[in-house]
């Protein structure tokens, strides 16, 4: 493959376009990316900011959904920056593409237009070495600061780069957020917290507190850098990357089928959603239709795993505020779901169950019956959970009016999922852009009003009930027939192209971008992590908060570090 990957992508696939294509055609240099027909506007490096502004202000593409790069083969050099924009009014999406030559891997930052670009650009800088001009805090996001090279470049040779023993020692010595330059690094931190917290006349010496990554309740290996004034939070900054397992890089050297097992491991709490997004994208590339039964099984599994993921969040919500008992009540029910997964897929956590064209195995009738009985009494279980927290005066005092997220922050930071719905922001892909069998099963979307921790709690509890209802509907409405489409080749070689599909995971909109160069391995596989975008809005939610609020508020984002760090 000697020409530029992205050029080849578009020339190879000029099929159906969407409505937005007609809307933008003539204004921008628009073509179609992939068989799914993603409208893709090409722009030069110098025009990027202007084009992005126009798309946001005149065309209403208010959300920056995806920001990544697709590398070209080393002999061509350079890469393509890809910006996915979404218009929330009608769910239309458009991609912006900027080709960068090898000798000038730099482009203007979009973080002034969409703050959400801030962490995503850091990730591209980290993995591709693209320099973003004017970025407020261009620092590696996932890898260590002293890491040598940019591993997602195709020219990166494994083993040649890497870290020497001396570098490791240096890293250990300069461990922590305060680098060798000491306070200079701290000063460079984009403190977003406000100074208005607390009475200025009572202000005391600042205390810098590193919460995590080994803190017992930061939900994995999250590291929060807090600046405190007494018990008040002045500023906060999340740092992550401790669980980076190079899943995207590893996928580039695995066959398409083998990637399923890796994708599973991104979000170990809700693996089915990762698998589903990947399968949808892969099926789009291959032009395969899953069987109707498989669609229903996929919905069933997605909803069950959503319940089990919300169970994990629920236990954490209890622990975060100091209530110990809800944990065990929720885990009794979670066990039932995991037993069902084990019966059907053979695994409780890393399923590797969805296949192009369907699912690996059918559901045994006994397991289905057992599940049906459990789903029917699940509402009573949720009543029991609620009895422990919802009406509890202390829990209400801890969560109501705490950690408020506004609609502006949601739009700026591309927040999705229950976090956005808690603030009354009405988005849910299951209803807005149905995939699998969701077009045949109605989905009710619970919405909050105040956007505080308590509303997010209420939303998720309601979602648990709703998920159980959907799962039951999927189980009851499941058609007869094969669970796997016939004629799917053993060795998958999708035609050259790209596909980007999103699903509604328990944490928000999870997207998978698959770029094929016609070989049996993906040229690029990108996971759009909802929790990453959601996490970086945390400093705004922590405005006016006390130390004791930090963990409940961050917990209400429901972060899963595996998915954020990949």
């Amino acid at each position: 493959m000697s020409e530029s990957t992205a050029t080849k992508l578009t020339t190879a696939t000029a099929t159906a376009g969407s409505a937005v294509l007609h809307e933008l055609d003539g204004v921008f240099d628009v073509d179609v990316l992939g068989p799914g027909g993603i409208a893709c506007a090409r722009t030069g490096r110098s025009d990027l900011l202007a084009v992005a502004r126009t798309l946001r202000d005149s065309y209403g593409f208010g959300h920056l959904d995806l920001l990544t790069a697709i590398d070209n083969p080393p002999d061509v050099g350079g890469l393509d920056m890809l910006y996915g924009l979404v218009r929330r009014d009608d769910g239309e999406q458009v991609m912006l593409r900027v080709a960068l030559a090898e000798d000038s891997l730099s482009v203007a930052t979009l973080s002034a237009i969409w703050p959400a670009a801030n962490p995503l650009e850091r990730e591209v800088y980290d993995l591709y070495g693209v320099h973003f001009e004017g970025h407020p805090f261009l620092r590696r996001l996932l890898l260590r600061d002293d890491f040598d090279g940019h591993p997602l470049r195709k020219s990166y040779v494994m083993g040649e780069h890497g870290v020497s023993a001396e570098q490791v020692t240096d890293a250990v010595q300069s461990h922590g957020i305060v680098g060798p330059e000491g306070d200079a690094t701290v000063a460079a931190f984009p403190f977003v917290g406000t100074e208005k917290n607390g009475d200025p006349s009572l202000r005391s010496q600042r205390l810098i507190l590193n919460v995590g990554p080994q803190h017992p309740s930061t939900h994995g290996v999250l590291h929060l850098y807090l600046v405190l004034d007494g018990e008040s939070v002045i500023a906060a900054q999340p740092t992550h990357g401790y669980l980076h397992r190079c899943i995207e890089k590893l996928c580039e050297s695995r066959s398409y089928k083998a990637c399923t097992a890796l994708i599973d491991r991104c979000d170990y709490v809700s693996g089915f959603h990762q698998e589903l997004a990947y399968m949808l994208a892969l099926e789009e590339l291959l032009g395969i239709e899953p069987t109707p039964k498989a669609d229903y099984i996929r919905v069933l599994m997605s909803e069950l795993v959503r319940i089990s993921s919300h169970h994990t969040w629920f236990t954490a919500a209890g622990f975060d505020t100091g209530a110990l008992t809800p944990f065990l009540y929720a885990f009794i029910d979670r066990e039932e779901i995991l037993d069902f997964f084990e019966a059907v897929t053979g695994a409780r956590m890393m399923f590797n169950y969805f296949r192009p064209g369907g699912v690996k195995d059918d559901i045994q009738p006994e397991a289905a019956e057992r599940l049906r009985a459990w789903l029917k009494r699940f509402d009573a279980s949720v009543d029991e959970y609620e009895a422990m927290l919802t009406g509890n005066e202390i829990f209400r005092a801890r969560t109501r009016g705490v950690g408020i997220l506004t609609c502006k922050d949601i739009e700026d930071w591309s927040v999705t999922g229950p976090l956005a719905r808690g603030s009354g922001y009405d988005i849910d892909l299951r209803r807005d852009a149905p995939y699998a069998a969701y077009d045949r099963i109605p989905v009710n979307v619970p919405l909050g009003t105040s956007g505080d921790t308590f509303d997010r709690y209420v939303i998720r509890v309601a979602e648990m009930r709703e998920s159980a209802r959907i799962a039951l509907a999927a189980l009851d409405g499941m058609p007869e027939g094969p669970h796997l489409a016939e004629g799917v080749p053993r060795n998958l070689r999708p035609p050259v192209g790209a596909a980007y599909r999103k699903v509604e995971s328990p944490r928000g909109e999870l997207g998978v971008l698959v770029v094929s160069d016609g070989s049996d391995k993906p040229w690029r596989l990108k996971v759009r992590s909802p929790a990453l975008s959601n996490l970086h809005v945390a400093p705004y939610m922590l405005e006016d908060c006390k130390v004791g609020d930090v963990i409940p508020v961050v917990g209400s984002i429901d972060v899963v570090m595996g998915e954020i760090d990949r």
């Binding site: 009014d89 505020t321 829990f395 969560t399 505080d452």
Partner: protein
């Protein structure tokens, strides 16, 4: 001879207290377990009865670490300062009528005074560990104990007024007819809340809030030094339950059974209540804790003194009526405050986000109209 007698007394008292502490530890694990639909320890001994011993042995076998940056002398001394007063209070504690360490005239104040040393140990531990979590934990402990000792002592004032004595045995004797919990329910309520705070138990386990502060003031402690804090806390649970029984539940008074059986039965009922609270409630935030202590409990305790005085000037019926009314009022007030916590900020937030929500809703309905129009169009075409 008298020295020997004193020493023997100390040994016997210590053994009794420590045995009860072990039982409290076991009760906590089993009762918590059953409340959380699990069994608790089952492997060591009959229903895990030997678990506290196994824990103690394990802690003894661990390495005693002192952080390099710690203030060494204070770090080593802090667990002792925390542990000693927990046993020392028994010097003034009457068990049954004729089994008392030293019968002080000011017994109850003696106990409060000694118990007040415990937070000093926590503060020292937090300070000397040279760890930010420990430091915050230690400060919280000190602030909490000061805030809650005042309303607690003021609540006990009512009991003292009724007994007209500070001596614990007199207070118990005064309850031979009616227990103080009947004549002083309001005071009991305040005392129980204050007691939970004094014990650093849920919902006031701020100094060791594990979800915020890792381990709190004792984060850096290991081995026997950690065990000292740990044991001290459980001794305190037993101690304060005992004091609560002496002050409000008629002490060793009771029919048929021997005095000591009544005393222990009542004490373990209070222990059960404390564990029950732990299994049920989340933790309050530190500023809420302060607000509750100073703005609510302190004035309430003063009101209790007033009610008691009025009751003593009139009759018992008036006293009980006023006390019950005050207790119900406080309960309703706390419930109302909890129910409506954050209402103001939520209303503010609602207006702040309403604009965005309505804008988004408008976009959605516009989209729906568009889709409907398209659907109609397609239908027309197919027709």
């Amino acid at each position: 001879m008298s020295i020997l007698r004193t020493l023997l007394g100390i040994v016997i008292l210590t053994v009794i207290v420590l045995v009860n502490t072990i039982v409290v530890m076991w009760c906590e694990r089993k009762w918590m377990g059953h409340m959380q639909s699990r069994r608790g320890p089952m492997r060591t001994g009959w229903h895990g009865l030997m678990q506290p011993f196994a824990d103690a042995l394990k802690l003894l076998g661990k390495e005693d670490l002192t952080p390099a940056a710690a203030d060494r002398r204070l770090f080593l001394i802090a667990p002792l300062i925390a542990f000693t007063p927990s046993l020392l209070v028994y010097a003034a504690m009457p068990w049954v009528a004729d089994f008392t360490g030293v019968s002080f005239d000011v017994g109850i104040f003696m106990i409060f005074a000694i118990a007040a040393i415990f937070p000093v140990g926590m503060l020292l531990a937090g300070w000397s560990s040279h760890n930010k979590y420990s430091l915050i934990g230690g400060f919280r402990a000190a602030a909490q104990q000061i805030s809650y000792e005042v309303p607690m002592i003021l609540a006990v004032m009512g009991v003292i007024m009724l007994a007209e004595s500070l001596q614990l045995s007199d207070i118990v004797d005064s309850q031979a007819g009616v227990w103080n919990v009947v004549t002083q329910p309001f005071a009991f309520m305040l005392f129980f809340i204050g007691m939970l705070a004094e014990l650093n138990r849920t919902p006031f386990d701020m100094p060791e809030a594990e979800s915020e502060l890792v381990g709190g003031f004792n984060t850096e402690y290991s081995s026997m030094r950690f065990a000292l804090f740990f044991v001290a806390e459980y001794v305190n649970v037993f101690t304060w339950s005992l004091i609560c029984v002496l002050l409000f539940f008629g002490g060793w008074n009771g029919p048929l059974l021997p005095d000591i059986a009544w005393l222990l039965a009542k004490t373990y009922l209070i222990v059960f209540a404390i564990i029950w609270v732990r299994a049920t409630f989340p933790r309050v935030r530190v500023d809420q804790l302060m607000a509750l202590g100073w703005k609510l409990l302190l004035p309430a305790a003063l009101v209790n003194v007033l009610i008691t005085a009025v009751g003593m000037l009139t009759n018992v019926l008036v006293l009980v009526t006023l006390e019950v009314a005050a207790a119900i009022a406080l309960f309703l007030l706390i419930s109302w405050l909890g129910e409506h916590a954050g209402d103001k900020r939520r209303a503010e937030a609602r207006t702040r986000i309403a604009l965005g929500v309505s804008r988004q809703a408008a976009g959605r309905s516009a989209r729906k109209t568009r889709t409907d129009a398209t659907a109609a169009e397609t239908e027309g075409v197919s027709a």
